[in-house]
């Protein structure tokens, strides 16, 4: 009876709400929230474009410089040198140049825009489960006691490999994975963070990066050789100085190609060595598999012969992206552990971000200031330094040349 009295009153209240509400929607509070895509809540420091299809690092300035250098040099070659070469030598030259250029750009964009192999962060339940396992292994700790470093040892093909715990991603990193401080992600088979490409180089885009630098070496040598040929052929007819005056763009192309060929070819050679021995740049710099570390130290990931290593790196199966950028967030899906979920045992996040900024600056300046110990890298570092200085001189000379012409 009591209920029967209440119900009509409730109905009246419901009707009153309906009449006040002018919109025809019957459940406005549910449909208000639009389903977000996973890239919009991605915890790393990446930039996404085209609704999550393109993924890059946060700093992309140097990538645009790479694009400009390649586009301008190639553009000048096709516009000023190719007509002469096509008519006087063979039209195959611009054709081959065109194919090389398209391949270089394709590989660059593929290396820059794809997911390098980012490992998604642990869900809260996973993180809690790992913490429980670590606490069980280490035993109870009192307040103020610093816990031992979180590592797990694993025997891979006879070599003991240490798996480190990532405090940011709350996972034990798989072997060969590393945390990129610039992108703030753990990347599988982390090679290095390449500012020229504007992205990390990891498992999923290493082959594109390698093919990019290899094809760019060929393109640079190709342009250099044929611009020199063009200038020589012209100077045979009209003299050297007038040949330079007729095609001033050739001077710029020669300068850019001459000073970039050393570092690009050097880098291609270095990465060919890495691929043939199945190592990453990270492992080579640290000397992880160097015989200097110990007599029985060898690379457990190598397939034994360099052909299999090369085939595996370049033609092996391409793993799919693990982060599902364009998927929609399901309301009941557990969200990954964010940076704010730091425990007392973890280093504070302000210190981490400060370290990241310092690391970023030191990454940029490190290569220019302190020479690395390994031979290959030392040559690459030296050529980079020389190239940087000479490009500045070359640009200055171009400006002086331009002003003398006008």
């Amino acid at each position: 009876m009591h209920l029967g009295v209440e119900e009509p009153i409730r109905e009246c209240q419901y009707n009153q709400i309906c009449t006040h509400n002018s919109s025809p929607m019957d459940t406005p509070h549910i449909k208000k929230k639009k389903n977000k895509r996973k890239w919009q809540v991605f915890p790393g420091r990446n930039r996404f474009y085209c609704n999550g299809r393109i993924m890059m690092a946060k700093q992309t300035g140097v990538f645009y410089l790479t694009m400009v250098l390649i586009l301008v040099t190639s553009g000048l070659f096709f516009a000023f040198d190719c007509p002469f070469l096509a008519s006087n030598l063979t039209p195959a030259i611009p054709a081959i140049g065109g194919v090389l250029f398209v391949f270089v750009m394709g590989m660059l964009l593929r290396a820059s825009f794809s997911d390098p192999g980012v490992l998604p962060r642990a869900t809260p339940e996973e993180a809690a489960d790992i913490e429980r396992q670590i606490d069980a292994n280490n035993g109870p700790s009192g307040p103020g006691y610093r816990p031992p470093p979180r590592t797990r040892e694993v025997l891979i093909n006879g070599q003991t490999v240490k798996l480190k715990y990532c405090f940011t991603c709350k996972i034990f990193r798989p072997p060969r994975a590393s945390h990129c401080s610039l992108c703030d992600n753990c990347v599988d088979r982390f090679d290095h963070h390449c500012p020229w490409v504007g992205n990390c180089v990891g498992r999923r885009n290493y082959r594109f990066f390698y093919l990019f630098i290899l094809s760019l070496s060929f393109l640079t040598i190709f342009i250099f050789a044929f611009v020199i040929t063009h200038v020589i052929l012209r100077s045979n007819r009209t003299g050297f100085l007038s040949a330079l005056k007729d095609s001033p763009a050739s001077v710029l192309e020669v300068v850019v190609c001459f000073f970039s060929v050393w570092s690009i070819v050097g880098l291609s050679g270095f990465h060919t060595y890495l691929i043939s021995s199945n190592q990453t740049t990270n492992e080579d710099i640290k000397g992880s598999w160097s015989s200097k570390r110990g007599k029985g130290n060898y690379n457990p990931y190598s397939y034994g012969n360099f052909i299999t290593n090369c085939c595996a790196a370049l033609c092996g199966p391409l793993p799919p992206s693990l982060i599902d950028r364009r998927g929609f967030i399901q309301p009941d899906t557990p969200q990954p552990a964010t940076q704010t979920n730091g425990t007392s045992a973890c280093p504070p996040n302000q210190v981490q971000s400060h370290m990241v900024v310092c690391l970023h600056l030191t990454n940029q300046t490190r290569l220019f200031l302190s020479p690395p110990p390994q031979k290959f890298l030392f040559c690459y570092w030296l050529s980079l330094k020389i190239q940087f200085v000479f490009i500045c001189i070359a640009l200055l000379q171009c400006r002086l040349f331009q002003s003398s012409l006008t």
């Binding site: 085939c311 370049l314 033609c315």
Partner: protein
């Protein structure tokens, strides 16, 4: 009232706990999960059945990552077409992942859901773990 549950019933049931089967890196970086039987599942499922599921999963992942004539051919063809061929066709890995998703759904429907368990596809956890959700089973009487 029945002891067994269907997949739909599980969605309304309460989650008691989750068990995580970690990766096994002893063979290198290939995707492989530990076949060690978790203690929490002792009362729920047969050890042999569980190991068979994980072993089949491992075999499927090994098939996806296998280096052989087929993968090399696919890689070379993709390189020659500047990787544009993947706009029209799926990679071998993606095809096997679909197979794995189907396998997990079948296992859930036939074996795990009736026992109050649910396997989560490892790809949804970044191929880090096989997450097994244990649901509260009022009819059996938990613990």
């Amino acid at each position: 009232m029945a002891e067994t549950h269907s997949l739909q019933d599980l969605r309304q049931a309460a989650v008691a706990s989750k068990v995580f089967v970690q990766r096994d890196y002893t063979s290198g970086t290939i995707c492989k999960f530990q076949t060690k039987f978790p203690a929490e599942l002792e009362s729920r499922i047969d050890k042999v059945q569980f190991e068979e599921t994980i072993q089949t999963l491992n075999n499927l992942y090994a098939e996806a990552e296998k280096l052989g004539g087929r993968s090399y051919l696919e890689g070379c063809l993709a390189c020659l077409t500047a990787y544009t061929i993947f706009l029209c066709m799926e990679t071998h890995y993606e095809k096997v992942l679909k197979k794995i998703a189907k396998f997990i759904q079948e296992q859930n429907e036939k074996i795990y859901a009736p026992l109050g368990l649910l396997l989560t596809d490892p790809i949804e956890r970044g191929l880090r773990v096989v997450e097994i959700t244990i649901f509260e089973d009022r009819s059996i009487g938990s613990r």
